[in-house]
Structures are given as C-alpha cells and as structure tokens.
Point group: C2
Chain length 339, copies 2
Amino acid sequence: MRCRCGIDVHAHVVPAAFPAYLKGPTPAEWPSMAPAQACHRHVVISGRIYRTVSDRCWDVPRRVADMDEMGLSLQAISPMPELLCYWMDPEPADELLRYINDQMAEMISHSGGRLVGLGAVPLQDMNRAIAELRRIRCDLGFAGVEVGSNINGKPIGSPDFDPFFAVAEELDAAIFVHALRPCSRERLVGPPQLQQVLAYPSDIGLAAASVICSNVLLRRPGLRIAFSHGGGTLGLLLPRLEEGYKVFPALQDSIQQSPTEQARKLYYDALVYDEPTLRHLTSLFGETQVMLGTDYPFAFHDMIPVERVQAAFADEHIRNLLLHKNAKTFLRQPGGVQQ
Amino acid sequence: MRCRCGIDVHAHVVPAAFPAYLKGPTPAEWPSMAPAQACHRHVVISGRIYRTVSDRCWDVPRRVADMDEMGLSLQAISPMPELLCYWMDPEPADELLRYINDQMAEMISHSGGRLVGLGAVPLQDMNRAIAELRRIRCDLGFAGVEVGSNINGKPIGSPDFDPFFAVAEELDAAIFVHALRPCSRERLVGPPQLQQVLAYPSDIGLAAASVICSNVLLRRPGLRIAFSHGGGTLGLLLPRLEEGYKVFPALQDSIQQSPTEQARKLYYDALVYDEPTLRHLTSLFGETQVMLGTDYPFAFHDMIPVERVQAAFADEHIRNLLLHKNAKTFLRQPGGVQQ
C-alpha cells in the first residue's frame, strides 16, 4: 500500500486574486491576475506576465487530492517567492503580504489539518517585518515564515537581520529560506529558465554560507532555519569553507565554530532530483536535517518525493526521518523532537 | 615507499620580476614586484599589494624539491589567474602575457622534464589570443592554455569564444579553466578571503554549466577542457540541470545532449579537500575525468594531494587514474589514452 506519511516543507501558493491598492498610487510591482487557459491565470507584475499559474495554487480540495496522490499527509505552504515584494515600498508591501498571509490562513482553515503556513513579512522594513511575524505566528498560528536567500541583494545571513532572527527565536518560528532574485544571472548561457535551474541553487548555497559565516545559529541557538533546493550549492562549498577556516586566520577569527558543525544544525529540503546526491547531502548535513520538499505546484516540481526517498535509502529509520520526522521537528508538529 | 607518480594539473607561477611597459603609458593594472620578507615579494597591481608570494612561484629547484615531497612526478604550471589581464588594453596585455609565457618556457626548460605549460592568451582580443595560442603550442611546446571562468564577465561557454575553441581543437591544446573575478561577491558576509573560498567555486561551477548549456563539446568533440576546484559547484547544479532539461522544452531545444553526459566528457581537478566529496564527484563525472590539482604554491593549496586520493579510493585502478593516468590523457603525455 502507498505511503501517505510524507510532510512537504516546500510548496507554494498564489491567491486566486489580488485586491486593488487603495492607499495611494498603485506601485508598478503590485500584482494582478489576468484570465488564461482553463484552470489557469496569468500573474501580471510590472505590466507583463510574470508566470501563468494553475488553480492548484489556490484551490485547496485540488491540492489535497494531489497531496494524497503524492503520499503527503501535510504540506507547509509559502507564497510564490516573487510575491515577497522586498523591492516594493514598505507600506504597500506590508499591505500585500498581510493580504497573502490572510489568504493562506483561509486555505489552511479549509484544509482539514493538511496544511500549515510559512508566511511572508516585509523584511525591507524591520519594524513592519517583526510586527507581521508576530501576527502570523500568534494570531494566524502559522508554523513560521518564508524569507528570500537575499533581501534586495543583501544575503539573509547579514547581521542586519539580527532583530528579525531574535524575534523568530522568541516566537519559536520556523524559517524557510527560498532562492529569490539570484545573483550570477550574467553567467548563464541559454534560455531564461536557467535562472531557476542554475542561479537559484547558487544563490541559496551562498545564503546558507552567509548564515554560517556570520554565526547566526551560535547567537540564536533556538532557531530552526531550512534552505530550499537541498541547500543549493552549499554541499560543495562546505568542504572548501571548512578547509579555508583551518587555513586563513581571518576566517578562524570571524567564524566561531566549524562551518561543517554549523551546517549540521541547519535544515534542508530534499529537492535535488537525484538519489546519489540526496545520499551525499544527507551524509554531509546529517540524517536529522533533511526533509521532503516538492516546489508544488509549479512546472518544475517533484511529483514523486516519497518514492525518491524510498529509492535513495533502504533503512526504514532514515526514510522516516526524511519523510516526516525531521519536518515535524522543524515545523513543531506532534511527533517531532523537542530541542 | 612514497609514491612519486602524481601529476598535478593545477599549480601556478608568478615571474620573479615584471618588465617595464615601453610601448606607451603604463596601464594601471600592469604588475610590478616590490621587496617583502625573506624569500617573498609583493605583487603590486593598480598601486596596491595584490598578493605577497614566495619564491616558490618562480624558483624551479625549490618547486621540484616540493614536488618530490608531495609525490608529484609532473606539474602543469599556469599563471596566477589575476595575471591573465583580460581587463587590460589588448596591446599591453598581449605584451605581458607573451613575457609570462616566455618566463614559463624558461622555467620548464630548467625543470628536467618535471614541468609542462598551460600558458595565457589575451582572450579580450580574439586575433591576438589565437596568435598567442599558436605560439605557445607550436613554438614553446606548451600542453595548452589556462583561461578564466569568465572573460570580463562573459562566461567561458559563451559562443563568442568559438573561434578560440576551434583553434584549440585544431592544435590539440588542453584547456584549463580557472575561477577568476567571480560573480556573487556581494553575497559574502565576512573577510575578503571568502572570495577565494566561496565565490571561486560558484563561478567555476557556472562556467562549466555554460560550456554544457552551449554544447561546446558537441561542436568541438576533440577538445579537452578541465575545470579547477573539482568543477566548483557544478556537481550540485548538474542533477537540477538534468531535471530542468527534461522538464523545460526551451532547455530541450537549446541543450543538444544530456547535461550529465556532457559533464562526463569534461575534466576536473580533485581539489576539494574532502574524501566523500571526491568520491561523489568522481562517481558523478566519471573516474576517467578527475585529476590531481594542488593550487601550489599559494597559501590555500593542498599539500597532500596523493594521500588524499589514496585515502579516498582503495581501488588501485581508480587511484592510478586520478593520480596520473587521466592527467596524461588531458596533457597528452606518454601513457595517456589517445582519444
């Protein structure tokens, strides 16, 4: 019989519609919806179609049916990253993210316990970000928050985000770091899809490295921070960072604990599409740190996440960790390890 | 008894001195040497100390003694990458690179057969680059050429470099791609050494991906192209690129052969400082594609390259491939496989 125990920490939502902005001139980046083919809508941002999305983005019964099909008992939903709006003026960004968070709460309330929330906060404005973090955690009951690998170019490990991390720790909120507006786009030769395929994992790898190099988890040991796409390129940066930490006095001074030891306290999704790679990363990061992630419902999502873990690992204990136990710990669901 | 069979494809030289530029005003980036502590000199570029280097950079007997110590029978030398001067006006750049190539030829001639050359060509000017490539291959007898992961921001896989690749194939010249002036520096949080540690592997990974995405080896099947630092992040980009190639029609149209199959025709050095990572990459890229690389004689170099391969692999056949056989094929030395 099919396993239905998987917990997916990496899945996105787009609301069915966006409201008009009424508090002033509409910002250019304010999204709107336009009709598309059956069961689809165009997300229009800055006057062009950013992405054509299916009703799986907002239709809860359809999502739950797909979850059944994929063997998922629970899914943590987060906004399509481009909606995070770090580049918008804080006031309309706050307004939009509050709307999106409320829409997510609505979806969760209709899911029969199958969805939990990783909301969005306007990190370009620390006070507003903290206020919205408190609201989604305390009022809406979300498990935590999705943040970008960089905020307008500043990596998420920058000390500038310490006040946010302090409140996330206080609220016991899970933090899911997703690749966003990546650097290195000028290094791609080929179609625009390469941005998702190659630049996203590069940016998330460097984001994870920034969290390690600035010792975030040493200052905030209660935090649970997860990285999308298997941590991107981190797994190959890490051995070199570990060696650099041994060789360069400047790195010994600035990095306060072995980078590998720090990396083994972070969480990662298993979205790497390759069994040997999944085994290698699980061995490197630790079998308690890797969790299912699908990128549902976008074109480039993993439709067989449970099967991939089962194919990669024969050991039932490791399978259960990756399929659901680690996610329960990360999302603070019953059955997780209380740290 | 100690193995002395290793061949190192990744080692750098700096000439003991730089001449004055006499054909016009001295470009700001024209390097000069300044005295430093015993056995060391400062390489001064644009009015500041770029790096303080030891006489191991130019002293052949000292290098050969170190090679004996490291278990190396042969070393392919290439210029310190910052000397590649792609950002300098073509005329002085050409002058400087001809000087450096001549100095390398001098070192090789005094090495008793222990050194071979991977020279430099001014790729910002295709005609000059091709002329110098012919000179170093045909007149100086070099094994090939070192090139940057990007040339003034343009990745080495860009179709703009096709004329260079055509001549390299015609001349049967090995191409060694080294990380240089990497993107993603704005994503680093910490001391400047992180550029070498984190941004270099990110840039080389994207450079290798650019060669795959633009099908260089399908157009030029006779080429032998190697990437520094174990291909950087390529090993973690590749499974996602392979999946993207299956999912996105635009990538199926533009990439003419499975990215993984293409990656298994490229070469990589073994400079990853970690046995499980070396085993993972060797499995991914193929045991015939990985070769010793040390980054000698800079601070961040691998002093036990042979031991690392021996520790990572018990199988004598694989050890021999990585220690010397693959490098013989790449550098066209006796004992290599003629493809």
